[in-house]
């Protein structure tokens, strides 16, 4: 009976957290869509999330794209379909791997930074001070981060996809796939629909990263240790959440849009 009660309590707490996060997410979206806007903070966040993540995203995309191209080129060579390398690289990079990889790299970097910063601000009463001086923390701290990621993440995804596909082309040379043949495959399958699929996902990833990171930061308790725990949880939830969101988006895009 006690075990049953404990399970019930645990379930109730989980549902409470889900409810809190959902309400928080709605509040974040409301803050991001309606003025007033803190323009200076938005520009700062775009710079921080885009320029700050640029090198790591480009490097990861290049390396991952080349690793993917090696696998694909080997298998396609066995089937005598080497000329399809460009086609497969576009589908796997632009539609699937690119957005997820960029999302996870940015999530690791940004969610840790956001949670640590907001958690420290909370534990040193800076959030309360903002409220006390008439500022809405959702408007000043959360909305600029959301808008910043909405702009930065698709741009980073495009850059990552480009490097991934270009890197694949150079790997193809090693398997006697000419650049012309590779380019033809890329050009044929780089359709607006495929590009759009790769651009829709980062928008949802940005909502996920900002909601999780800010919520964890703003609810962090227990001083430095609490902020550390919240930061770790934020990175784990964001990263796993991106994989789950990617699955849901892919499924919905196939089902609803038929792309």
């Amino acid at each position: 009976m006690e075990a049953l009660a404990a399970v019930g309590n645990r379930l109730r707490r989980v549902l409470e957290v889900v409810q809190d996060v959902t309400l928080f997410c709605a509040s974040v979206l409301r803050s991001a869509f309606f003025p007033p806007y803190y323009k200076h903070e938005i520009v700062e966040q775009i710079f921080f999330s885009m320029i700050g993540s640029l090198f790591i995203v480009m490097f990861s995309a290049l390396v991952a794209g080349q690793a993917l191209a090696i696998q694909l080129a080997r298998e396609l060579a066995k089937q005598g379909a080497k000329s399809e390398l460009g086609h497969f690289m576009v589908i796997s990079s632009v539609r699937a791997l690119g957005p997820v990889l960029t999302g996870i790299v940015v999530a690791s970097r940004m969610s840790a930074g956001i949670t640590a910063e907001l958690g420290t601000m909370r534990s040193s009463n800076q959030i309360d001070a903002l409220v006390a001086f008439g500022t809405d923390p959702m408007k000043r701290l959360v909305a600029p981060r959301m808008i910043g990621l909405w702009i930065a993440l698709p741009v980073l995804t495009i850059l990552g996809d480009t490097l991934s596909v270009v890197g694949g082309g150079f790997i193809g040379l090693g398997y006697h796939v000419t650049l012309q043949s590779y380019y033809n495959g890329v050009a044929r399958y780089l359709t607006p629909a495929n590009l759009l699929v790769g651009m829709i996902k980062p928008v949802f990833f940005a909502i996920l990263i900002t909601t999780v990171a800010c919520w964890k930061g703003l609810t962090a308790e227990g001083g430095a240790k609490g902020v550390g725990v919240a930061t770790t949880e934020s990175v784990v939830i964001s990263s796993v959440g991106i994989l789950v969101t990617d699955f849901i988006c892919t499924k919905l895009i196939f089902r609803v849009l038929g792309w």
Binding site: N125, Q126, D128, V131, A132, F133, G134
Partner: protein, 274 residues
């Protein structure tokens, strides 16, 4: 005027405040005194609308803020300036941006903000040259002064709230902060609420004192009445203070050679030459 009426507040079934009532009239300095964990800082958070009480009412100029909408609460907060524990300065902003924060938010002209920042820094005894420094480059005492300057600059509030303004400071810095609070009280006539566990500060600054013990008001009155209170908790709470006062008194009775060490030159006396 500020009034707490039978305020009850709890966090996760743990009662923090139980039927707390007191009134602060215009120009008065009310000290909320009590040991750590007695719920003192909670009173300020409730007053700023950062937390909501379970029951009871909190009146600011006759308006019950527990019934106020978030928009109205933002306006009510403008009547008050708060100095948080440890200062709570915005660490990503310079000293000047901290002091002029509310003016920046209200989009005042830049030169007006700069002039106000310099004025308020001077008022709290700091050099205006510090305005371009970051908060972590300042000592704890200087950070508290900046926090007071920020509270004063916050739309020139009629009420100042101090949350443990001297905690964690060395005795000299703590005394300077207390003197500054006294100066602001006497020269600007601000209504103030100071939360502290420092009994000496409470006697020095307060017109009225409220003593809390585990969330319950155990005393309300003037400093003189507190000194004469016969409640066992008050007796025990004041004992260390009385001992230190007695020690200070006996130190005064030590005579002119009191500052002379056994082996070295005489110790310096406050405000005078050795």
């Amino acid at each position: 005027m500020i009034e707490f009426r039978n305020v009850v507040f709890s966090i996760r079934d743990h009662v923090i405040l139980l039927n707390v009532s007191f009134r602060v009239t215009r120009g008065q300095t009310r000290v909320i005194l009590g040991p750590s964990g007695s719920g003192k800082s909670t009173i300020l958070r409730l007053l700023m609308g950062l937390w909501e009480p379970d029951s009871g009412s909190i009146l600011v100029n006759g308006e019950d803020i527990t019934q106020a909408s978030p928009e109205r609460m933002r306006d009510i907060r403008r009547l008050m300036g708060i100095v948080f524990q440890q200062g709570a300065l915005f660490d990503s902003m310079t000293v000047g941006e901290n002091v002029g924060y509310t003016m920046l938010e209200d989009k005042h002209p830049e030169d007006e903000i700069e002039e106000a920042v310099e004025r308020y820094l001077t008022m709290v005894g700091l050099s205006p040259d510090l305005k371009d420094r970051m908060p972590d480059e300042l000592s704890g005492g200087m950070q508290r002064r900046v926090a007071i300057a920020r509270a004063l600059a916050a739309r020139n509030p009629g009420v100042l709230l101090y949350d443990e303004p001297t905690t964690g400071l060395d005795p000299q810095s703590a005394e300077r902060i207390t003197d500054l609070i006294l100066h602001l009280r006497d020269t600007m006539g601000k209504t103030s609420i100071m939360v502290t566990h420092d009994i000496a500060d409470a006697f020095k600054v307060g017109n009225r004192i409220t003593v809390l013990d585990r969330g319950v008001v155990v005393f309300e009155g003037t400093p003189e009445e507190l000194n004469c209170a016969e409640d066992p908790f008050i007796e025990e709470f004041l004992e260390p203070f009385r001992k230190s006062m007695a020690a200070a008194k006996s130190r005064e009775e030590c005579g002119p050679n009191a500052g002379r060490s056994a082996t070295g030159p005489p110790m310096p006396q406050p405000g005078g030459n050795p």
